[in-house]
């Protein structure tokens, strides 16, 4: 494949945080790529490293040790200094943050917050910037944009604030939009509107989108491809239909089964035993999901699990998916027992 049809290519990205003098990787050799006009969803529980991946791409983890390659529009980002990185983020690569309550500066008018990013990246005159800011607000569907431009964040509702955050992100027509849980803090009807908006803008600008979320419904609706992360690693990556129709990795299958859905009415939900181990207590050899599927015999796992392509574009880590079955016997005692074991094991 030619370099140029990839907007972003991440190779072996590893982000380590320092805990008590030692570095522990929260993102561990993660590789993926995004093409222009493609939505890649990054899914996983809290602690899986999905947000850390996004923050590493944006160069926002200044204290972490980052290794690996991040090729963005044929530039290597990991070696860039702050000055040159500042030219890219907010410009060609922009981020929509999770919480619209904290992403905006409470002391600045909306107009200022938008013109700030225009000033840093564009060469427009002051007047042009001001009118463009209003245009942007109009573009993201804010009624009476002139008035909202003069408002402070606290005067707006959560949905409106998230629209402002999106307006700031798209101000410089980014080639890559990173959306970190963009709708988690919002009500469902507002969520539907914001997702529509992101989809529409993405089509207009032809941008690639990295969508980070734990909501599998949102993923099914928005993504072209999905990467599932567990304990800092990508464990499965596939086109969206393939992933939902034919999930392979035990973690993906467990996640999909733990959702309350129409077919699950009146029955117990699937529970994944145990918890994601804390960074400094994680076993980094063998299959990381193994402790949470203890009924799978050891020889089913690989010693050194790698992502392997099992059908076109569908990659799965480890061999334990082959004979995997969900342990859904609905036995309450077993789940209580498991919770207890993890508790004493994890904290010992």
């Amino acid at each position: 494949m030619l370099m140029s049809d990839k907007l972003l290519e991440v190779n072996d990205l590893t982000t380590s945080f320092k805990i008590k003098g030692e570095y522990y990787p929260a993102v561990d050799h993660v590789s993926f790529s995004i093409k222009p006009n493609e939505v890649l969803a990054l899914v996983g529980e809290s602690g899986s490293g999905k947000s850390a991946t996004a923050f590493s791409l944006m160069g926002l983890h200044t204290k972490a040790r980052i290794t690996g390659e991040v090729q963005f529009m044929e530039k290597e980002l990991t070696s860039l200094g702050t000055g040159r990185m500042n030219k890219i983020r907010g410009g060609d690569m922009a981020m929509i943050f999770q919480d619209p309550m904290t992403a905006l500066n409470p002391l600045m008018k909306i107009r200022q917050q938008i013109t700030e990013t225009l000033k840093l990246h564009g060469k427009k005159s002051k007047n042009e910037r001001e009118s463009y800011a209003v245009e942007l607000l109009d573009r993201v569907g804010i009624p009476r944009p002139e008035r909202v431009a003069e408002a402070f964040p606290h005067e707006l509702s959560g949905g409106m604030r998230q629209r402002v955050v999106i307006a700031i992100a798209i101000a410089n027509r980014p080639k890559l939009l990173i959306a970190d849980e963009p709708t988690t803090a919002l009500d469902v009807t507002i969520q539907a509107q914001i997702l529509d908006l992101i989809r529409e803008l993405q089509n207009d600008l032809g941008s690639g989108v990295l969508l980070i979320t734990h909501d599998l419904g949102v993923v099914a609706e928005m993504a072209d491809r999905v990467a599932v992360m567990y304990a800092g690693q990508v464990v499965e990556i596939a086109p969206v239909r393939e992933l939902f129709k034919n999930p392979q990795h035990p973690y993906t299958r467990s996640l999909l089964n733990s959702l309350p859905s129409e077919d699950m009415l009146g029955s117990r939900l699937h529970v994944i035993e145990g918890v994601v181990p804390p960074l400094d207590k994680m076993d980094r050899t063998g299959c990381r999901f193994a402790p949470r599927i203890p009924w799978v015999p050891e020889e089913e796992h690989e010693d050194n699990p790698e992502l392997r392509e099992i059908s076109e574009g569908h990659f799965v880590r480890c061999t334990c998916y082959k004979n995997f079955h969900l342990n859904n016997d609905g036995d309450a005692a077993a789940s209580v027992e498991a919770a207890r074991e993890t508790f004493s094991g994890g904290r010992a």
Binding site: T189, A192, H214, G217, A220, S258, P260, R268, A339
Partner: protein, 309 residues
Amino acid sequence: MTLLEIKDLKVHYPIKGGFFNTVKDHVKAVDGVSINIPEGTTYGLVGESGSGKTTTGKAVMGLNHITAGDILFDGRKLNASGKKVDVRDDIQMIFQDPYSSLNARKRVLDIVAEPIRNYHRKPKGELTEEVLDLLDRVGLPRDALYKYPHEFSGGQRQRIGVARAIALNPKLIIADEPVSALDVSVQAQVLNFMQEIQKDMNLTMMFIAHDLGVVRHMCQHIGIMYQGRLVEEGTAEDIFSNPQHIYTKRLIAAIPDTNVDKIERNLEVRQTVKTEYDQNFSESLDDEGRAFPLQSISETHRVALPVKG
């Protein structure tokens, strides 16, 4: 048998202003809500932020001032003037955020024992035994007793919150968004386990949530709130298979589905519902922008429809 009966509940907050700081107007957070919850069932109260669902729950708990209306628990009036009926040990609450609802400076023993200490005098040994029993019931190990909340994961903390709520053998539990702060896999754990406890203790539950998928899984009856009033109420079946009010339809259409085959159709449905909503929504409300009184359309199903005439 009805355990909790809410009759025409109103909770209004005054807006003060002007030179003498006089009352200018009222925020009608809850404006005429009536709900019956039969014993041993779960009632789901659904709505967007600001719809008044939490205020309703808090009013039942006695945490809010009630402007008008009655709350009857087990046939006894809770808000009678003069002599107050003490049912605080029969009604307990599970809070939304397991990170902030537990006192970080207390041990699990003290957190769970606190409600018991408030109502009964018990020797220390007996109290510890009782707390151990409760921990057992919610699936926490015995050595959790002397640990602090920060030593637990989100799901385990929510279990501690549940242990505290069931410590006094309550009849009614108000669960305010108990799983919205949790990951899906942990959410599944807590939901399963709340259902178990409910069955074991024959609990009645009021389940406040904005996630319709979770509510459908947990509740027999569902009420949809909008701007302080119910717009529709019925069995889970009524609400999901036969929604009548445009607001309910819109909420249901907005849920993203994981079934990839249905996505195209869902998006279409959402678009049609949105168009209908934009056109008709103002007609489905009265002059003040509030829902009409509920009218029965079947034995279980009530909808806020305009009065014909």
